[in-house]
């Protein structure tokens, strides 16, 4: 079984906001396949991991709104939102496919979401928020 571990580490290193830079989370999603199906438990793990990532992203956004970090953060967050706004439709599809045990489509969407989070990682890194290791 081919298993690729996707490790996402969120670490904020924002100038002017020393206390926020220690936020860090890592998730191991793996790659879904017929041999490694997306069970409800695995879906729960993915959604839990995403929740932790978004806890960090929301802390970043709040710090930006409060003016605790350089104003360029607004443009950076807008850039990340282009990709995070694509997540809800995928999540809705994945939940349906898992609940109906449609593993073929669940696998495709699961891997699309993993790719999307990878893109979010790249965009956030460009704004000083490093998601990945």
């Amino acid at each position: 079984m081919r298993k690729i571990i996707l490790v996402l580490t969120l670490s904020l290193s924002l100038a002017g906001c020393a206390t926020i830079k220690n936020i860090e989370t890592a998730i191991s999603l793996g790659t879904a396949s017929v041999a490694n199906p997306v069970t409800p438990t695995r879906l729960n793990q993915m959604e839990s991991a995403f929740t932790l990532v978004f806890a960090g992203l929301n802390a970043w956004k709040k710090s930006c709104v409060q003016g605790l970090i350089p104003p360029a953060c607004k443009t950076q967050i807008n850039g990340v939102q282009v990709y995070t706004r694509q997540i809800p439709p995928y999540l809705a599809q994945l939940r349906t496919f898992v609940k109906t045990n449609d593993q073929v489509n669940a696998t495709v969407v699961f891997n699309n979401l993993a790719d999307l989070i990878g893109t979010v990682k790249s965009q956030a890194a460009a704004g000083g928020v490093n998601i990945g290791s």
Partner: protein, 70 residues
């Protein structure tokens, strides 16, 4: 259940809770996630109610982040 992955997630979740508390952010959603992960790990599987709770928490956090920044 991939216990190693869950434990790693719980560990990181505890770390992020600590940081959120330190910077004065609402840590409740992250606490709920970690609690659900521990409960699920103990049971060996996740219940429909736990999954629904995780989904609701995530949906709220995504909506929060995706709101246009002022």
């Amino acid at each position: 259940m991939d216990i190693a992955a869950v434990l790693a997630l719980i560990l990181k979740g505890v770390g992020i809770i600590s940081t959120l508390v330190t910077i004065g952010e609402d840590a409740a959603p992250a606490i709920k996630v970690v609690t659900n992960l521990i409960t699920g790990a103990q049971a060996g599987t996740v219940t429909a109610e736990e999954l629904a709770a995780t989904e609701a928490t995530l949906d709220a956090m995504i909506t929060d982040f995706n709101t246009p920044i002022a």
